[in-house]
């Protein structure tokens, strides 16, 4: 098929937008931790960019989108290793084009998804893990959990419309990553929070966000970047992309309202952290549905996501697991909700649009498969790393601050520190 410059230009733009989400996430997360660990928190996002950005072109693309599939679970990592094998650049030296888009552009677009998914997990284990262990985890988890999940859902695998879970008109719907990105990362976050254990002082000492303006700036950048994530997933510069854009904004706006009203009624105040969190909950929930619901359906998805997540973030205190920045309460809960909501609100096949129960059944199945798959894979990786490299820094380092202990830096210089700085090595 012939190259479409409009589509190609939009997809290059979308890839750039999605890449910006990860530094945005670094700000969102960084503001939420204490001042003594903000740099480590941000470095976990930048570290994910570094590791996944390299392995994606080596074997990530091939494991996700190779023609040869192992049981519909994962693509052959060798087939297009290093973007070879003719899938991206053909034997005549021409860029392979599909749907008007050169595949090499899709490689860039997809790489940014893999990066942000890994980075999302870091919020569950803030302030307390060895940076080296995190970097190794990033590479192994992307390889064993993200790439297979992308293959299953988007690469023609088990959870795609070519898999076994197709009932009549009802095929699995995951427009931009409810299962692949948010359920995947949310389950990994829960499992890692349990393996790594609680921070010192969790539940007994106040652990407050140190910079809420950073959190709000991060949420704004995530929203902006998410237009690439969702509207880019239309793979066209057309009305479908426009629908995804409008749904993305509408659901997010409704989620802010849902979260703030919940807070106002329950806690007495509508907070800035609640607004920023509502932004992310809405963006997550609309991700799987952005191309397959109406804008009015998007309002329902977003508003309910905001309320659900506002309640879900309190669970960690009741159940005693330290999911530090609520990756479970927001990404897993809103990701599950958005994926399942399609069973009701998909305009072609949803229950509320006169469809049968089939779409709901398909959505519940793909959500459950994603939960089980990510749970088992992350459990194995997490325990293996615990037994070998170890996850935790020492208690003393954690109390004095991971930034200084692990990175030999502090984010905010004080006069006292400044007065003793001497240049000791040029």
């Amino acid at each position: 098929m012939e190259l479409d410059t409009g589509v190609t230009a939009w997809m290059l733009t979308s890839a750039s937008l999605v890449l910006l989400m990860t530094p945005g996430l670094a700000l969102f997360y960084g503001g939420m931790v204490r001042g003594k660990s903000v740099l480590n928190m941000m470095m976990m996002s930048f570290g994910a960019m570094a590791v996944v950005g390299v392995i994606y072109v080596l074997w990530g693309w091939s494991m996700s989108y190779a023609d040869q599939s192992f049981g519909g679970i994962v693509g052959n990592p060798i087939e297009q290793f290093g973007l070879g094998g003719g899938g991206v650049l053909d034997d005549a030296g021409e860029w392979v084009v599909d749907g008007g888009l050169p595949i090499i552009v899709d490689v860039g677009f997809q790489a940014t998804f893999a990066i942000i998914t890994v980075a999302l997990i870091s919020g569950a284990i803030a302030d307390r893990v060895k940076f080296g262990t995190w970097m190794v985890f990033a590479g192994i988890w992307a390889t064993l959990s993200y790439f297979p999940m992308a293959h299953m859902v988007w690469g023609g695998g088990l959870l795609s419309d070519e898999g076994p879970f197709v009932f009549g008109d009802a095929v699995p719907i995951d427009f931009a990553g409810g299962t692949v990105v948010h359920i995947n990362a949310g389950v990994a976050a829960l499992v890692l929070a349990l393996i790594v254990g609680r921070r010192k002082g969790f539940g007994s000492e106040p652990i407050r966000p140190h910079n809420l303006p950073l959190v709000m700036l991060g949420a704004a950048l995530l929203w902006f970047g998410w237009f690439g994530f969702n509207a880019g997933s239309a793979y066209g510069a057309d009305g479908a992309a426009g629908l995804a854009w409008v749904n993305t904004t509408t659901a997010t706006a409704a989620a802010i309202l849902g979260w703030l009203i919940t807070e106002k009624l329950r806690d007495g105040s509508a907070t800035s952290l609640g607004a920023a969190s509502g932004v992310v909950a809405g963006l997550v929930a609309i991700t799987p549905a952005a191309g397959d619901v109406s804008p009015v359906g998007a309002i329902a998805i977003g508003a309910i996501a905001g309320v659900l997540s506002a309640f879900a973030v309190g669970l960690k205190f009741k159940l005693g697991f330290d999911d530090s920045l609520d990756v479970v309460g927001i990404h897993l809960v809103a990701g599950l909700w958005g994926t399942v909501a399609l069973g009701f609100l998909a305009t072609e096949t949803g229950l509320l649009y006169g469809g049968g129960i089939e779409q709901l059944g398909v959505q519940v199945i793909i959500a459950l498969v994603a939960v089980v798959f990510a749970g088992i894979v992350t459990l194995v990786i997490g325990l293996a790393l615990k037994a070998t490299m170890g996850w935790r820094i020492s208690e003393e380092e954690e109390v004095s601050g991971i930034d200084l202990a692990v990175h030999s830096e502090t984010a905010y210089e004080t006069i006292q520190q400044g007065s003793v700085i001497k240049e000791v090595r040029a």
Binding site: P206, E263, D267, L273, V313, G314
Partner: protein, 112 residues
């Protein structure tokens, strides 16, 4: 000589400063402080988790005065700092043995 110390609401500082200047006080030391009395701090909520912050911001103001002026200066501070609400603060005096002006080496009342 006496040292008058007041711990007051930060937003009353400008009025207290003006009132002291009008009463003839020519110097003072002001510092940021934190503390609590009967008002017992405030509550903050982050994603539904409530934290009680018991220390709230205050301003500490210190003035050295001749012994005979101390009582009236205390009244000046109290009148200027008062809002009538819990958390207005306290003012107290303590006797001072000696004062030295660093620039000249003068002692006692001459150093005031």
């Amino acid at each position: 000589m006496k040292l008058v110390t007041g711990v007051i609401q930060p937003h009353r500082l400008d009025d207290v400063k003006s009132a002291l200047e009008a009463a003839g006080v020519r110097g003072m030391t002001v510092s940021e402080a934190s503390g609590y009395g009967r008002q017992k701090g405030h509550t903050e909520v982050y994603r539904g988790a409530e934290y009680t912050v018991d220390l709230v911001p205050k301003v500490r103001i210190e003035v050295l005065v001749p012994s005979e002026d101390a009582a009236s200066i205390v009244d000046v501070v109290v009148n200027a700092a008062q809002t009538g609400k819990i958390g207005d603060g306290k003012v107290w005096t303590v006797p001072v043995d000696d004062i030295a002006r660093v620039r000249t080496g003068e002692h006692g009342d001459a150093a005031l």
